[in-house]
């Protein structure tokens, strides 16, 4: 008992530190592991690959983090990506910018749809967005006549494969989105209000916050980001593939957010944590592939890593 009480504050401090910095630590540890144990890991091209692959998840996860911050969840992101993909070939004739705009607009409309269901009709987020998860991909396939369409517009494809000052466009976009998300959460009334709403919705209503507008806004942002990720992934793939694009993206994004330390109970958004959560899951993926582990082992290892990461980052109740 005596020794326990002596070490208790210490342990508490370590735990608190881990809770805040665990995900960064995990990324560092995994990087070190790979540097030592994985052949051909340390190369610019490899890091580039990891960043490029993490970018779409990261973008979607940032939107998801905002939604989760309001104590919501957005299961529709994968389907929104697929709707975005389905629209691109239809509008690519009018130029890549128009196609991008239309796709993001579709994301905004989807977000508006979920947002209105959640904010104005009071339907629980998981169900409101589940409907779009189920129906959205079907809609995308209807738009695309169930077809994969090969894309040839070089300007558009450059979104997925091009560079700006040596940095892949996708990574750059993800970085910009992350910075904007960080500013949004920390520095704008919208951001502070969304966190407050997630923390205590009844109190926020009584405090005169525009609760419904903020909620709709959050789903719109999430929808728009999902659509943006859909556009980028499509450009990278060189084809519009509404059937497969973004499948299970909702789970990857939620995992990234939660592993990054944002609690599912809302009231808190960790933007940098989310970015690192996405990176961590990407690195885990890469490590498993590079060591050629079979799918069975890979899935079990991922499960274990998610549990450990979330265990470390969990909100502790002091008692």
């Amino acid at each position: 008992m005596a020794s326990a009480t002596l070490t208790a504050p210490n342990r508490a401090r370590t735990a608190a530190w881990l809770q805040n910095y665990g995900v960064y630590l995990a990324v560092v540890v995994l990087l070190l592991f790979n540097v030592v144990f994985t052949d051909n890991f340390v190369s610019a091209a490899n890091f580039r690959t990891q960043l490029v692959q993490a970018a779409p998840v990261c973008i979607v996860a940032l939107g998801m983090a905002l939604v989760i911050g309001t104590e919501g969840i957005d299961l529709s992101v994968g389907s929104v990506m697929s709707i975005a993909a389905a629209l691109i070939p239809l509008y690519l004739g009018a130029g890549p910018f128009t196609a991008l705009l239309v796709a993001v607009l579709a994301g905004i409309v989807s977000g508006l749809f979920s947002g209105v269901l959640v904010a104005y009709l009071g339907i629980q987020p998981i169900i409101a967005t589940l409907a779009l998860l189920v129906g959205g991909r079907g809609l995308a396939l209807v738009i695309a006549h169930g077809q994969l369409v090969q894309l040839h517009n070089q300007d558009f494809l450059a979104l997925g494969t091009g560079d700006v000052l040596g940095i892949p466009t996708m990574v750059l976009v993800a970085a910009v989105v992350a910075v904007l998300a960080g500013l949004l959460v920390q520095r704008t009334t919208f951001g502070r209000q969304l966190v407050a709403i997630g923390g205590n919705r009844a109190a926020s209503t009584l405090a005169g916050l525009p609760v419904r507008r903020v909620l709709v806004g959050v789903y719109v942002v999430s929808g728009a980001l999902a659509a943006l990720a859909g556009v980028l992934s499509t450009a990278r793939l060189g084809a519009s593939d509404p059937n497969d694009l973004g499948l299970l993206m909702e789970l990857s994004a939620i995992t990234a957010v939660v592993v990054g330390g944002t609690p599912l109970t809302g009231g808190r958004v960790r933007v940098l944590g989310t970015v690192f959560g996405a990176l961590l899951m990407q690195l885990v993926h890469a490590t498993l592939i590079k060591h050629d582990l079979p799918d069975s082992t890979a899935q079990m290892v991922q499960a274990a890593i998610i549990v450990v990461a979330v265990y470390v980052a969990r909100e502790r109740s002091s008692r």
Binding site: F41, A45, T161
Partner: protein, 336 residues
């Protein structure tokens, strides 16, 4: 996009298409006959025919498959309301209830594209109870032919894997390091195409498999996995993709990594979709083993023969073409 869908069946229904030919592996003992089953005689042209599709028509194979059945029915003059179709949306339980509901709605002949080789027994039992012959297409079920179902029309996936390995040996010149992009885990197609490929590849001592990772039959996952493999195995010289989509993903990945697909790293896959065959013609792809989805003509022909009293073999292997640098340019019209 729409035109390509209509072109394909037109090309093959002209008679010269690859689907018309079938190398049947009829057992010498004659096969299954109408009298043997004791089923009533039905005229397929006036009968109600049910078709149970397994997945959404959202990839070239499924689109071509369903279209082929519809086209053949139309060609035979079967009225549209006599062809009932369902789609199981990749849900096995749903496929069983789909088949049962087809039976319930009066289907007298069934064509089924099984979602999985195992697990359709209850549906087949229901058909048997109603004395409705079932032809399974594209995927063989592990039940008893003739008693549980009439016959299987489709490809031999193990064989496809073997042929892919032979192509691989040919295009690589018999040496190199090969990565396999596997299909979805738990899927029999994946299992068979892997087994056939690996068994056959083992015969070529110069070729070794350095990685096998799943790409879920999906282009973007294939691309992502390939990107990882290119980094961790810079010495990779060939890829075997278990469908064209992942193969195309691999081509994308190779291009992004600054390699020349088809030259630096050879690409071989199974399917025969137009996009992949076109890539061979363009020189960025090495070989495609076809997995023929045009079961319509064979399926209806087989049903007709069965009702006419002819013996039907336990499995009818549809002939799969193959595409390589020598024939891709001319045959691209055959691809689906």
């Amino acid at each position: 996009a729409c035109t390509s869908r209509e072109e394909t069946p037109a090309a093959q229904s002209s008679g010269s298409g690859p689907a018309a030919s079938a190398a049947s592996t009829a057992p010498t003992s004659g096969g299954c006959t109408l009298t043997q089953t004791g089923y009533p005689k039905i005229d397929p042209k006036t009968a109600i025919i049910g078709f149970s599709q397994s997945e959404k028509e959202a990839n070239p194979f499924r689109i071509a498959e369903t279209q082929s059945i519809r086209d053949e029915a139309a060609k035979l003059g079967i009225p549209a309301d006599h062809l009932l179709t369902t789609n199981a949306q990749s849900d096995l339980n749903k496929q069983i209830s789909d088949i049962k509901s087809l039976l319930d709605r009066g289907a007298q002949l069934l064509v089924v594209a099984p979602l999985n080789s195992d697990g359709l027994q209850p549906a087949l039992d229901a058909a048997k109870a109603k004395k409705v012959p079932v032809v399974t297409v594209d995927r063989k079920v592990t039940s008893q032919p003739c008693t549980d179902y009439l016959t299987f029309i489709g490809s031999d996936f193990v064989k496809q894997g073997q042929r892919a390995a032979q192509e691989m040996a040919r295009v690589t010149g018999g040496s190199g390091k090969v990565a396999i992009l596997l299909g979805s885990s738990g899927n029999n197609v994946t299992t068979d195409r892997t087994q056939g490929f690996k068994d056959e590849l083992a015969k070529t001592s110069g070729l070794s498999v350095v990685a096998e990772q799943t790409g879920d039959f999906d282009r973007s996952k294939g691309q992502a996995v390939m990107e990882q493999l290119i980094q961790s195995h810079p010495d990779l010289t060939a890829v075997y993709a278990e469908n064209d989509e992942m193969g195309i993903g691999a081509v994308n990945a190779l291009r992004t990594a600054g390699k020349t697909p088809g030259k630096d790293v050879k690409v071989v896959s199974v399917d025969g979709t137009r996009n992949a065959v076109q890539l061979i013609a363009d020189g960025s792809y090495n070989a495609v083993i076809e997995s023929n989805p045009r079961f319509g003509p064979l399926a209806f022909q087989t049903l007709q023969q069965f009702e006419d009293g002819q013996p039907i073999p336990a499995s009818i292997v549809i002939s799969d073409d193959s595409y390589d640098e020598t024939n891709a340019a001319q045959k691209v019209g055959n691809a689906y």
